[in-house]
Assembly symmetry: C2
């Protein structure tokens, strides 16, 4: 098995995705939100790149069945039901709902890789579940970090490092330099992720906006044992498929 | 001062380079070779992307004044005078010569950034000299790693981390996530770079080809106190300009 990591979706050539597992990471906060929503009983998540696309899509849906969700510039979109804070995705709000979801980086990364056969979503909340999925599939795997504003982002790379570590506890594998770098970056901070994460631009930006509780939540490792999976543009729990 | 790091030249938008210092790093081995050649008295280095371009260029030159140098797939090019091993660039061979130089990654990175006002070359051999140059210029700075085969490469990123450390000893500055990551990757291995470098793909490849002495040489920090600078397609010691 060969593991490759990409610092953003920009640097991916779609042909490279063929016949591989693809893990999309956007720890702060899109993939953390989606994992939380599915854990709390959401029926499915439909990621869309643009706000207008989300609004157009729900025109044909029964208002009782869906929620409009997402962010632009880290804040809630006007007229939407939910923002990009995982704390809002309680069972009470999301159970059995279809969530139409748009974020700045995460959903764009998902669109970019949507042609791959096998796309799952990773974050710290489900790091071990993702490692276990990769182990069981046994196929070459590509980790795609959403990044922040088109650039390498600490939070996503450290998450890739955590998944690398969990996977190396399960099996031997080969990997590229960025996969190894993600592990070496994470390793000294194994017991205190906060200590390294706090240097990240995106982390600091969310902190300035007052999202301390969101950060604490998203930095929890292995809170949920589920793996969100993208099939034909819709994300559901892989355990239900 | 703001420091940005790019893992390869592919991810750079040329407009971002305007009014900035640009430091190109290709530790294994192009920028190490160029730094060594200039230290040993080479008059100038002319980087070209293609082998054919190098051969065309020397047609108009007096054979006594130049050397054809470079590599493809880490090995010497047929008919060329020198390979990409810094150990070959002795004073005896290179003094007062113009070196026409082509490599797989390094010279391509140099071409990509050649429109910037101020392009210098960095490696471990001259890390402190580069940091000192950035400090004295006092301008926003972009570090461009050559990378290996279009991807993030351990050797270049660790070198960026060393320069970050040297610079932080001289001044306070802001930086992006990849700059910080390069420092955090390097820091635990400050006393033994070999320990972290050995995990890199490019390092392993050179080792397999038997270039152990080249690796040891290129991993020496601060061997030379010079800064190569690219102006109008020609690299000379900035100290001579």
């Amino acid at each position: 098995m060969f593991l490759q990591t990409f610092e953003t979706y920009n640097s991916i050539n779609e042909r490279e995705l063929k016949d591989k597992n693809v893990v999309v990471i956007d720890t702060l906060r899109a993939t953390s939100v989606i994992t939380t929503a599915l854990y709390n009983g959401a029926k499915e998540i439909i990621p869309v790149s643009e706000v207008e696309e989300a609004i157009e899509l729900v025109k044909s849906l029964d208002k009782k069945t869906y929620l409009l969700a997402g962010e632009r510039n880290s804040t809630k979109i006007e007229g939407f039901d939910l923002s990009n804070s995982p704390l809002e995705y309680t069972r009470e709000k999301v159970e059995n709902k279809t969530i139409i979801f748009t974020t700045t980086n995460g959903t764009k990364a998902l669109k970019k890789v949507s042609l791959a056969d096998n796309v799952i979503l990773g974050c710290l909340l489900n790091a071990s579940a993702v490692a276990d999925y990769i182990f069981k599939e046994g196929k070459d795997t590509i980790i795609v970090c959403a990044g922040t504003e088109g650039k390498f982002s600490f939070d996503d790379i450290i998450t890739a490092g955590v998944i690398y570590k969990k996977l190396s506890d399960l099996m031997e594998f080969e990997s590229d330099d960025l996969s190894k770098a993600s592990y070496f970056l994470y390793k000294p901070y194994e017991e205190n992720l906060y200590e390294v994460m706090k240097h990240g631009y995106h982390f600091k930006r969310l902190k300035e906006l007052g999202y301390d509780e969101d950060i604490d939540f998203c930095l929890t490792v292995d809170k949920f044992c589920i793996v969100p999976k993208l099939i034909n543009g819709v994300i559901r729990k892989s355990e239900d498929l």
